[in-house]
């Protein structure tokens, strides 16, 4: 403890930045969610904004779409990236080359991704061209219910590699001797995965999950460029709602939406974190 102040001094600037750019604005947003009007003319509005928000059709649509997207995207990306990480660990097909290939979509500029989506899925795109060979009429995929699955596919394509790298980092820390010992005892591949790999991967899974959620929200940039401020209703997300509320200078509304989102995700991550660390086992073993 005597020497702990050295550490605090060193991380002080970072903590100060965190406070100025994250913590203070968060409390300001919380305050705005309970006030009416701006500046000197503002007044306390109680829970009126929260009540009207829960009754707002577009907020409910955006919330439902966002939850639906996360419910489909997160398990999919975790399963896919886990599979890719296991393949990479097994050294199948050139580990280093594959790592670069899987990361390329993640680092691809947003405009490039959007151009690719346009090339494929617009009415004059490659998908319609391919389907026309089979006599299927052209469709405006980006303005149809299928736009949801296109966005999901886009997210999986972009984020799988990144999550796979995070999981691979966890996999390589598991001592190889444990697998050897298990093999000597006659354990099958599935048993080794379940009894050795999985318990030691919870921390990495949690981190990969957090980053997957962050990447899911970053997907808004592509959706915005594809569909504009008001895309097809099926892909109208919470960020659209918040962005448009800002354009309309409805700061109370966007504050409420932000606070509700924060409460939801904090609860989910807190519950997940507690579950992973249950029983006081800091290494995440079940």
């Amino acid at each position: 403890m005597k020497k702990a102040w050295h550490g605090y001094v060193l991380i002080g600037p970072m903590l100060l930045g965190c406070a100025v750019f994250y913590i203070v604005p968060f409390f300001l947003v919380l305050r705005y969610s309970f006030t009416e009007g701006y500046g000197a003319g503002s007044g306390f509005a109680g829970f009126d904004h929260y009540r009207s928000m829960l009754e707002n059709e577009m907020f409910r649509l955006a919330f439902a779409n966002t939850m639906r997207f996360l419910a489909a995207a997160l398990p999919s990306v975790m399963v896919l990236s886990y599979a890719v990480a296991l393949l990479l660990k097994a050294g199948i097909g050139g580990k280093n080359l594959l790592k670069s290939v899987f990361l390329l979509p993640y680092i691809m500029p947003v405009t490039g991704t959007v151009m690719l989506v346009d090339l494929l899925f617009t009415e004059s795109g490659a998908v319609n061209g391919a389907l026309s060979v089979f006599g299927v009429p052209a469709a405006d995929w980006l303005n149809s219910p299928q736009s949801f699955w296109i966005v999901l596919l886009l997210y999986l394509w972009k984020s799988t590699g990144y999550s796979a790298i995070l999981l691979l980092a966890g996999l390589v820390t598991i001592p190889g001797e444990q697998y050897e010992a298990a093999e000597l005892d006659g354990a099958s591949g599935w048993q080794k995965f379940r009894r050795i790999t999985t318990p030691q991967m919870w921390q990495s899974v949690f981190i990969a999950l957090v980053f997957s959620v962050i990447n899911a929200f970053k997907c808004f940039r592509e959706i915005f460029l594809i569909g504009g401020e008001h895309p097809y209703p099926g892909i109208y997300m919470l960020q659209h709602f918040i962005n448009n509320s800002f354009q309309n200078l409805n700061y109370a509304r966007l504050s409420v939406a932000s606070v509700l989102l924060f409460v939801l995700f904090s609860s989910v991550f807190a519950a997940l974190y507690a579950w992973i660390h249950r029983g006081g086992k800091g290494d995440g073993q079940l």
């Binding site: 050295h6 008001h230 200078l249």
Partner: protein, 455 residues
């Protein structure tokens, strides 16, 4: 000794780190200040010797000080050079009328699209934080601006929503003592559009009507034979298609008298009516011919809006062809407005300036002659818009008065251009140029408008 050296070393590196960070933070502070200086640094318009002797002591534009002492007016008309040259006349007129030098700071948006968008976001953040300019003289979200290439970002995409979100200061008490503001002399629906729940929050400045001027040598089309938009859309006269089939998206939104009930957050426009209207415009576009020589346009110009004003000089009123709305009248679409920021500390000073925009000389575009020069002749290059219309409303002598008088009396609805109009603009474009079916275009537009309104 070794322990002591180690301790001193640690202290030294900690102090060095703190010093480096302190220097970095102070450098960042300077950069932030440089980035947030006034967007426009145009100097006062005093390019000739005569003007320089009459240049008011107040600079039309100056760098905004860190703590401005004068009210800051955000203006959005024309480009910098054009505005400030006009502005010089307006400020001289102010000095003439009030007998004192104007003390305001005028700021405007950059002309480059990306810089403008960044500046718009900057002002939005300021406004929601309880700051921002003290008053605004701005464009509305005219689709011909917001859908141009590159698109022009406007500060308030929906003025009515901004009114609902308590962005603007109520003006009724302040306007009661204004000698220039006489709403009864203006077009009633236009002035009503600036009110919310009976309270005046916004002052409409300019509006446009959709109309054409017919070339009587080329067509015998009689505007009086059409009572509503339905008459126009159902007409089998090929001259109607030739006239209206060109540039459909510019007038299509004006064929609807109302679009939305902002209080109830409902669209008053029905999807079936929209679909039918899009079918009509598609037919008009397909049936019209636009070769030179058959165009039913006045010799000096063409198209809708009041850009035809030069052609209206001495025009036969019966040759003016308005695009009617579904209620049998004309929709006035407000293109510019002024308002005061609710957070301002300079409400009276701002209103003193803004109400001057309703003065006779400004509205009529004639200005007042002072030593052979006209002052107060305009506030923007598009002065002809409200100059002409105001002249019609009061009977003030105007070169356009007689031609437009009957039309302003047919205005039965008025609204600010907004993103709702842009959705209709896009629908008309998709139907006429992109080949989309009216049903699909109506579906997309209706959903988009519903989403816009419900947000």
């Amino acid at each position: 000794m070794k322990v002591k050296m180690k301790f001193l070393q640690k202290r030294f590196f900690v102090c060095l780190l703190l010093t480096v960070l302190a220097v970095l933070f102070s450098a960042c502070g300077k950069t932030a200040a440089e980035m947030h200086e006034a967007p426009s640094k145009a100097s006062a318009a005093a390019s000739d010797a005569e003007a320089s002797s009459e240049t008011p002591s107040a600079e039309p534009v100056s760098e905004a000080p860190d703590e401005p002492e004068n009210p800051v007016i955000l203006v959005d008309r024309g480009n910098d050079k054009e505005y400030f040259e006009q502005n010089d006349y307006f400020l001289k007129y102010y000095a003439l009328v009030y007998g004192e030098e104007p003390e305001y700071e005028f700021v405007t948006f950059p002309t480059a699209s990306a810089a403008r968008e960044s500046e718009v976001q900057h002002y939005r953040v300021e406004i929601v934080a309880g700051g921002g300019p003290d008053a605004f003289i701005l464009n509305t979200a005219d689709p011909q601006l917001t859908r141009s290439d590159p698109p022009t970002e406007v500060l308030f995409p929906d003025v009515v929503k901004a009114m609902q979100n308590q962005t603007f200061l109520p003006l009724d008490d302040l306007l009661a003592s204004s000698e220039f503001y006489r709403p009864e002399e203006h077009v009633a629906p236009v002035m009503e559009a600036g009110k919310l729940d009976g309270e005046t929050l916004v002052l409409p400045l300019l509006y446009s009507m959709n109309l054409y001027v017919l070339d009587r040598d080329k067509t015998a089309l009689d505007p009086a034979s059409f009572s509503t938009w339905e008459d126009l859309s159902a007409s089998e006269d090929p001259d109607v298609a030739n006239l209206l089939g060109w540039n459909v998206s510019s007038w299509f939104d004006g064929t609807f008298s109302t679009l939305a009930d902002y209080g109830a957050l409902n669209l008053t426009l029905e999807k079936d009516a929209l679909t039918e209207a899009l079918r009509s415009v598609k037919a008009l576009h397909e049936n019209g011919t636009y070769e030179a020589g058959t165009a039913l346009l006045a010799a000096e110009g063409f198209g809708t809006k009041l850009q035809t004003l030069p052609a209206l000089r001495g025009a036969d009123p019966e040759a003016i062809f308005p695009v009617l709305n579904d209620a049998g009248g004309i929709t006035a679409q407000i293109t510019a407005f002024c308002a005061i920021n609710r957070s301002t500390a300079y409400a009276e000073e701002c209103l003193k300036l803004l109400s001057l925009l309703y003065a006779e000389e400004i509205q009529s575009n004639y200005g007042r002659s002072v030593d052979g020069k006209y002052v107060g002749a305009s506030v923007s290059p598009t002065n002809a818009y409200f100059g002409a219309v105001r002249g019609v409303a009061t009977g003030y002598a105007s070169p356009f008065g007689e031609a437009l008088r009957p039309l302003t009396e047919r205005i039965n609805s008025a609204r600010f251009y907004s993103t709702l109009d842009a959705a209709l603009y896009d629908a008309a474009d998709r139907v006429t140029f992109d080949g989309q079916t009216p049903e699909d275009a109506a579906e997309n537009a209706f959903e988009e408008m519903r989403m816009i309104l419900a947000e």
